[in-house]
């Protein structure tokens, strides 16, 4: 499979009054053509920062990419100047944001907001751009788009607005679509519709999708591969089957356990005790050690090596070490 985008050992920090927050600490992953990669993790784990770094949308200052590479079409995006990045943004890589209520400009008509993106990247006349806008609105399932072009965002419902945001992102046929919590702000029935739309669009256009979410229900529906992030690192990654049925990292297990289930007797909602570490001074060992039921002495001292389970599945955890397995057997 062809790699479209590759992130190698990415580090991102934010300078604040309290000190330097190391939000992303050595993240690596690759995105293949036509697949959906889900990045999951709880709030503040660095998943949004990772995605915004790819787009070059980290507010600088205070944010800064302090290390690593983002390779797209043989070019390192972290080294590109702003005008070159601008040519890629919206044309080759686009982004969908969490809240469709605020992601659209309230004082501009919908067609203008889509057309300006087209005209920025393609040599088309206004009339051609308008036709393209109508086509894309059809594709994302806006009924009767011709009559709604001159309407403002507030005249659309939440689900419809998210469809417009998706249309805006897809109109220049990008190769990579980054969706940052695209369904979080929508109610559940609309969520399902939007996820269906993602699948349909991917089949039609072959776009690769990076899906940022904390909702494992969403992940189960659309993701081909899953990367689990914790405290600025990818602690486990693998294909959907492996992550859901053979999770190796205690954090991944904890996440899966905390999904509310209707088929179980216990009414209690299970959560992972404790909270993520302070990223001003991240722990030198495994960041999850303090919350982990299986934590050993080594976990506090040394960050675990990567263990390769199969071609796609890998995990950073000391429990994979032979000696740990002996220890658990004794216990």
């Amino acid at each position: 499979m062809k790699k479209v985008l590759e992130v190698k050992d990415l580090y991102v920090s934010f300078t604040t009054y309290g000190g330097e927050v190391k939000a992303v600490r050595g993240v690596s992953f690759a995105l293949n053509k036509g697949e959906t990669l889900a990045i999951v993790g709880e709030s503040g784990c660095g998943k949004s920062v990772t995605s915004q770094s790819i787009m070059g949308l980290i507010p600088t200052p205070p944010g800064k990419i302090t290390g690593g590479e983002i390779l797209f079409k043989g070019r390192d995006l972290t080294k590109l100047k702003e005008p070159e990045l601008r040519k890629i943004r919206g044309a080759d890589i686009s982004m969908i944001f969490q809240d469709p209520m605020t992601a659209l400009n309230p004082t501009m008509t919908v067609d203008e907001q889509i057309i300006e993106g087209i005209i920025q990247h393609e040599k088309l006349s206004r009339l051609e751009a308008k036709q393209k806008t109508i086509d894309i609105l059809h594709l994302v399932g806006i009924p009767g788009p011709e009559s709604r072009l001159k309407q403002y965002p507030h005249q659309f419902s939440g689900g419809m607005r998210q469809r417009i945001v998706i249309a805006m992102a897809l109109v220049c046929e990008p190769e990579v679509l980054i969706a940052d919590e695209p369904t979080t702000a929508l109610d559940v029935t609309i969520q399902a519709q939007i996820l269906e739309l993602f699948k349909a669009i991917q089949e039609k256009t072959g776009v690769s999708i990076i899906l940022i979410t904390h909702d494992l229900g969403v992940v189960a529906q659309v993701a081909d591969r899953i990367a689990v992030m914790y405290a600025g690192k990818i602690v486990e990654a693998g294909n959907r089957r492996d992550i859901f049925y053979k999770p190796q990292h205690p954090y991944t297990k904890g996440l899966l356990n905390s999904v509310p289930r209707l088929d179980r007797e216990e009414a209690e909602l299970i959560s992972i005790a404790g909270s993520p570490p302070d990223l001003f001074s991240p722990p030198i060992g495994c960041p999850f050690a303090a919350r982990c039921d299986y934590a050993m002495e080594v976990c506090d001292r040394v960050y675990p090596f990567k263990t390769i389970m199969n071609r796609e599945h890998h995990v950073d955890c000391w429990l994979q070490d032979e000696r740990a397995k002996r220890l658990l057997a004794v216990k």
């Binding site: 949308l57 890629i88 992601a103 004082t107």
Partner: protein
């Protein structure tokens, strides 16, 4: 839309009537009259004068006849300058004040907005601090101080511009500058604050994600949203600037209508007091109405008429 405008126009007329009524009775409750100044006149002359201007009639009758003449847009004669009608005075003074005011507004709005936008884009940078220092100075230095300073520097020390009077475009520069600094500073500060807020909005990030240039993002996406609070103050600002300012017109010897506001009160020149008040109120009310219409154009979410859309 039409019903909205009709409703608003009715409300405007009622407001104006209230202002006329209140001013009329307040004015007459002030001690003194147009005729008892330092120069004493005999009782007979006094009586004759009062009869001539109908000041001997009961107040309500006077009020009634004033309203009647207002309906024909006649503000009556001036008592102090018996040769002039109030209409003539306003007709001569207002165009000059209006011209000065219009230029002042133009200068204040454009420079204020540019200053505010630049400051917000360089938030907490040197340019931001510099722009805001100019703004604070602009707000704190009264315009008569600014005017004398400008005259001293740019007319006396280096005679680039004429000292005073109102005849050529060169004559207009100093009064416009003196009058514009205050409003410019207010607009600059407002623009900066509201731009800073707008620039953190999600839709600005969306615009960036589309690959738009910073210039397009600011002009097309940020500025229009940021201007709403600025438009709010514009109505009152415009009304007070367009009708002339006593101090600036006095300093530069500009024959505008600013002086009538002040002179008429100390003279107890009843028709002039009423005339200037009604005139100013009308302009203010119309300006506020225009501002409300502007909201609807700037922000489509603001519906000026209730039963449309949803």
């Amino acid at each position: 839309m039409n019903t909205y405008i009709i409703k608003r126009l009715t409300a405007m007329v009622v407001t104006l009537w209230l202002i006329v009524t209140l001013t009329f009775f307040l004015m007459h409750s002030l001690p003194g009259s147009p005729f008892n100044q330092e120069r004493t006149t005999s009782e007979a002359v006094q009586k004759n004068l009062e009869a001539f201007y109908h000041l001997d009639e009961p107040l309500l009758v006077q009020y009634g006849s004033y309203l009647k003449s207002l309906l024909t847009l006649d503000f009556g004669p001036s008592i102090k300058n018996s040769s002039q009608d109030v209409n003539d005075m306003l007709g001569r003074g207002f165009p000059i004040s209006f011209e000065l005011g219009l230029w002042t507004l133009l200068v204040a709005i454009t420079s204020g907005i540019i200053l505010g936008v630049v400051a917000s884009l360089r938030h907490n940078g040197i340019i931001d601090y510099l722009a805001m220092t100019i703004a604070v100075v602009g707000i704190s230095v009264p315009n008569f101080v600014m005017a004398t300073l400008l005259i001293q520097q740019l007319a006396v020390k280096w005679p680039i511009f004429p000292v005073a009077t109102w005849s050529s475009s060169m004559h207009m520069v100093l009064p416009i500058l003196a009058l514009a600094t205050g409003p410019m500073a207010i607009i600059a500060r407002l623009t900066r604050t509201s731009m800073l807020e707008v620039l953190t909005q999600d839709y600005i990030r969306t615009a960036k994600a589309k690959g738009l240039s910073p210039f397009k993002i600011v002009v097309k996406h940020a500025l229009r949203n940021a201007l709403l609070p600025v438009v709010t103050v514009l109505g009152t600002l415009a009304a007070s600037i367009l009708t002339g300012t006593f101090v600036i017109e006095k300093i530069f010897a500009i024959p505008g209508m600013g002086k009538y506001f002040v002179d008429s009160i100390s003279n107890r020149d009843y028709p002039v007091i009423m005339g200037t008040t009604v005139f100013y109120s009308t302009i203010l009310i119309v300006m506020l109405f225009l501002v409300d219409l502007m909201y609807g154009i700037l922000d489509p979410r603001i519906k000026l008429h209730k039963k449309e859309g949803k």
